[in-house]
Symmetry: C4
Amino acid sequence: MVEQEKIAYDAPTEVKDIHVVNTYELEDRAREIVPKGGFDYISGGSADEYTLRQNQKAWETKRILPRVLADVEFPDPSTSILGHDIKVPFIMAPIAAHGLAHQTKEAGTAKGVADFGTIMSISAYSGAKFEEIEEGLQGSPRWFQIYMSKDDELNKNIIDEAKADGATAIILTADSTLSGNREKDIRNEFVYPFGMPIVSRYLTGSGANMSLNNIYSQSKQKISPRDVRVLKEYSELPIIVKGIQTPDDAMAAIGAGAEGVWVSNHGGRQLDGAPGSFETLEGISKAVAGRVPVIFDSGIRRGEHIFKALASGADIVALGRPVLYGLALGGWKGVRSVLEYFETDLERVMQLAGTQTIEDIKNAQLFD
Amino acid sequence: MVEQEKIAYDAPTEVKDIHVVNTYELEDRAREIVPKGGFDYISGGSADEYTLRQNQKAWETKRILPRVLADVEFPDPSTSILGHDIKVPFIMAPIAAHGLAHQTKEAGTAKGVADFGTIMSISAYSGAKFEEIEEGLQGSPRWFQIYMSKDDELNKNIIDEAKADGATAIILTADSTLSGNREKDIRNEFVYPFGMPIVSRYLTGSGANMSLNNIYSQSKQKISPRDVRVLKEYSELPIIVKGIQTPDDAMAAIGAGAEGVWVSNHGGRQLDGAPGSFETLEGISKAVAGRVPVIFDSGIRRGEHIFKALASGADIVALGRPVLYGLALGGWKGVRSVLEYFETDLERVMQLAGTQTIEDIKNAQLFD
Amino acid sequence: MVEQEKIAYDAPTEVKDIHVVNTYELEDRAREIVPKGGFDYISGGSADEYTLRQNQKAWETKRILPRVLADVEFPDPSTSILGHDIKVPFIMAPIAAHGLAHQTKEAGTAKGVADFGTIMSISAYSGAKFEEIEEGLQGSPRWFQIYMSKDDELNKNIIDEAKADGATAIILTADSTLSGNREKDIRNEFVYPFGMPIVSRYLTGSGANMSLNNIYSQSKQKISPRDVRVLKEYSELPIIVKGIQTPDDAMAAIGAGAEGVWVSNHGGRQLDGAPGSFETLEGISKAVAGRVPVIFDSGIRRGEHIFKALASGADIVALGRPVLYGLALGGWKGVRSVLEYFETDLERVMQLAGTQTIEDIKNAQLFD
Amino acid sequence: MVEQEKIAYDAPTEVKDIHVVNTYELEDRAREIVPKGGFDYISGGSADEYTLRQNQKAWETKRILPRVLADVEFPDPSTSILGHDIKVPFIMAPIAAHGLAHQTKEAGTAKGVADFGTIMSISAYSGAKFEEIEEGLQGSPRWFQIYMSKDDELNKNIIDEAKADGATAIILTADSTLSGNREKDIRNEFVYPFGMPIVSRYLTGSGANMSLNNIYSQSKQKISPRDVRVLKEYSELPIIVKGIQTPDDAMAAIGAGAEGVWVSNHGGRQLDGAPGSFETLEGISKAVAGRVPVIFDSGIRRGEHIFKALASGADIVALGRPVLYGLALGGWKGVRSVLEYFETDLERVMQLAGTQTIEDIKNAQLFD
């Protein structure tokens, strides 16, 4: 592993509760304090950003029908996923390089997630080491997301470490065998200002001073159902395949032993011209038909969105950028503020939609 | 009941006829004279204001087909609803806190409504007492809209008072068991500058200096068909359930004895992400199939809108914000000006569409 | 007839050929030289101007499929309508008060139309007398458009005069039994600056200093198939019913003896919230099924539009505002320039679409 | 052939590699250095530019579904067309007058295309002679695109020269029997600043100082399947009919012996109001059903677009304006840079979409 170079990048450092009116506003506030290269990296999508925008527009294709005589009070958003009972149907999505948003890196996010009380996903492209993140998590549940090496032995090493760290599931991200065409990063000549200790073992450098595309290129391209089987056998953990956008891939993943299907278009950061993530959810959920849980991300910004995703077949959703904006604005406390906002917002939506439980949401009819 | 505190809020006071070119313009004019907190409260919707906007956009989904050889002259917009003969197919919707728009509060609106000659709806969150409103109504017909207390005895008290006041129907608003996510109010830290004498009996305060969400929280959440039955039995008045957005809820209300179904999304102020109110009307009307009258609100700004709502199954419509802007701009005379505008506009639409009577409108075919 | 008052209104006076790049631009150029009240009257629509805009947007709902191996050269746009052979499939629409655009009034338009070589429609609300218009027409073919009086005898007088003037058909405008809700005119407090000599016999004044709504109110409201029969019997001329927007009205008109169906929403000036005129054309044409010619107006601004209207069942189209802008900009020569523009543009479209004749256009398939 | 006049037109001259972030940006950069008349000619469309815009919007009607477990690495974009093996599924489209973009004219484009390694299409309206273009091509493959003369003998001369030059196919452009209504050219009073040596034999002048419409008018209008047969017999080369927008014309071309169908709306430069080119592709491809190759152009700006076109039935696509912007910005090296951009972009799209070969793309399902 190459010595990590010191690159000038002044990530925010403040730790405080933040007032969340809505999460769109958080993006605007984060833009003011996160260095431009980092902010564009976090907020941007690929190419025309069609898919990025479509992730938002897609919500308007199905509308919530409030049930107003439903005898609801104090709705209960708790649920469970792969053996974890959680108080809300949302978890933290795996995201690379939290250090772009805050100097506490993934440890800050982890602490906020743990304090709030849901599942943390640790990215293989984390800028913090497992032990640093554990300082935030303090034993709280976590899943590990892997970008595979071309070298199977190194993958085993990584899995060994993730298991030792206590991961209860492995998320295999399958949609990113190269970087999407992120034009903002190209214009900014963006490189990571710090290394990626978990995967640096298979890179030509630490990750610092390298572009995302460079790093992706050094990861494994030839992802197939075989990888699902291999990871499952070696890890003896549930494998969740992330980046699924078609019923056929969902069934292929399940056929190879996956115990979770993660519907996502990577936040509009990979192949532009793909549908909005929500547009593909219902078809995939119907194909999966309850065989394994369906996790959903890409575009969740409000409680209404969580409701629509669950009503379209998702079992839980994952939150990404809004949490990172919370991290930027308030460190771990900002993370917690954002998660609390989603909890409060979802409870209000459940009350106003007339749904007492997550099961009620799943049975709700949306309006085209 | 707590002593009502004096909070600085300079509501308009002028009383005069106003010239109405259209009601959108009234909103712009009201913005200039109503204090910002009050104006945003009145005009705003919840969250992204998607549903608020959709209430307007939805009108474009069905278009009026003018019949031009229909032998029409002096079209007659009169109709009747629950035993009242009224000269127009529109009534005043229940709205909280008219005092935000004008110092005469609900009494001003009531006087304008009575002078024009249609039905007044009195909100449980009125800032004026029944006897004050009666000064405006002078015996003119009125319906009472209830936000229920968690305490059934207090509900009986309220019903007793409403009956004593002469209400001929009870409107049970079912879509507001909590406040919608009204971001403008949050940003403005909006609290009512005056109390709500009708419901203060079940609040921790008078209503003054309290937020809408605080007040809603102290009202009853668990609304169900049982409440329809209880209110009907106790009041011996027709119960109209307001906030219906699905055929199933309409049928549940009717099954519980409701004698009116009020299709509404609360002017886009409650659950954002719900369809435009007009989008749900036809399906509900078809399910109701004439068993009880259908009342419609949310988005009526022109005579064309009244026409489209009636042609889609509504029996009458209710007007909200435009009337309050009239109140702000001209007190009771302004209210009357707005109602006269709608009457004139509807008559013109009836003539140009080739419909002599309200029945003709109901039989008109719209164009998708 | 009241003496015509002199009201200050400086209509343009220039007579010259004009260069027409497109007709949208003509509107912009006319705005600069026509007094605001007159310009708004000519260019405006009613209420939200939804229907006015929709008349343009509707063109995008069906697209032309160019046929490129069609062996076409020197396409021939000539056609015939009600016994008139004309070199193009377009005529002049009836429009009131051309004097708002140019001091030569309808005589100017008539001269341009006659010089170009198509049919002039003379409006009952013309600001010029028949004999003045004849100075422009010089025997060229004309149709007369009637707004009926409530008094049948006066209608007979008007028909007598129109026949004496040489009208070969009567256009009964049925969509305007009141004025549309023209908000620009209301804001401008627009009144005609000159009288309407043809209908002043049934008005309380000359027409000068009167609003359109005042004049429409004094005309007949109760238009029905009976009027078609009466006009036909008395005039012994073909009756064309203008303002048809439904198959049912088309069939009613034909059933009453109409020899032409004129599909129009009056340029978006009458009932706002009606569909774009082109949207209703195909359904009406299919119902008419060739029994009588179908004339189309409302929104024709390019040769492409003429093509689409003919391919959707129109036999000829009528041009309105663009011709009046030509009149404003160049008097009768400007009118001729505009008509020549349409001829040239249509011929190019015919060549590029692979259609040698008007019949070929009628047989063309559009692409949804 | 008339002596070519010298007209002031300062085309760019620089030769250099260019950095391509995206091709939209190239248009902006080219605008700054290409004289306005030339830039508007190259970039503009006809009339309202509806079809020009629709060529872009149409891409959003079908979306790419990434397959993420597809075992793909180093995707291979090579293919073959009419006997040529090419490393990418795109070629250079025929475009008139490259000299507007760069002083090296078609020779510059040809050199970039040859150096990159795909097929050059030489336009009959080239500003360079065959021998000048050959200096760039250096034996690399080329097709010749013909605008026919009204005089068959001259067409034979032209074909003779093209064959002598080494053309391996003849592209018959059938959609341009007159110029589209290019309003920008009209406003700019645009005339070519140099002649067209290949077709000047049938013009009244060299082409210099003549408008496009003038030149088109002197070319042949009556294009029909007979021309396909005649060209094929005389040239003994494959004939590709360009400008096909309907299944019927595709089948007519094939029936007459065409060995390629080129779906195109001429970049939105001919009949405005036609559908976006991509909208017509699938229907035509289905009708052709593999009988002959389908070439596609009009609107390709990204690798995603190439993918969508191939997945909708195209065998190869042709690039136009973006290459000319590359020529303007960097001469032959700029041309090469643009082609390399498309190659890289397509390879990334193939990887992220999970398609190893062009055949895989053709079998991909798009998402409506």
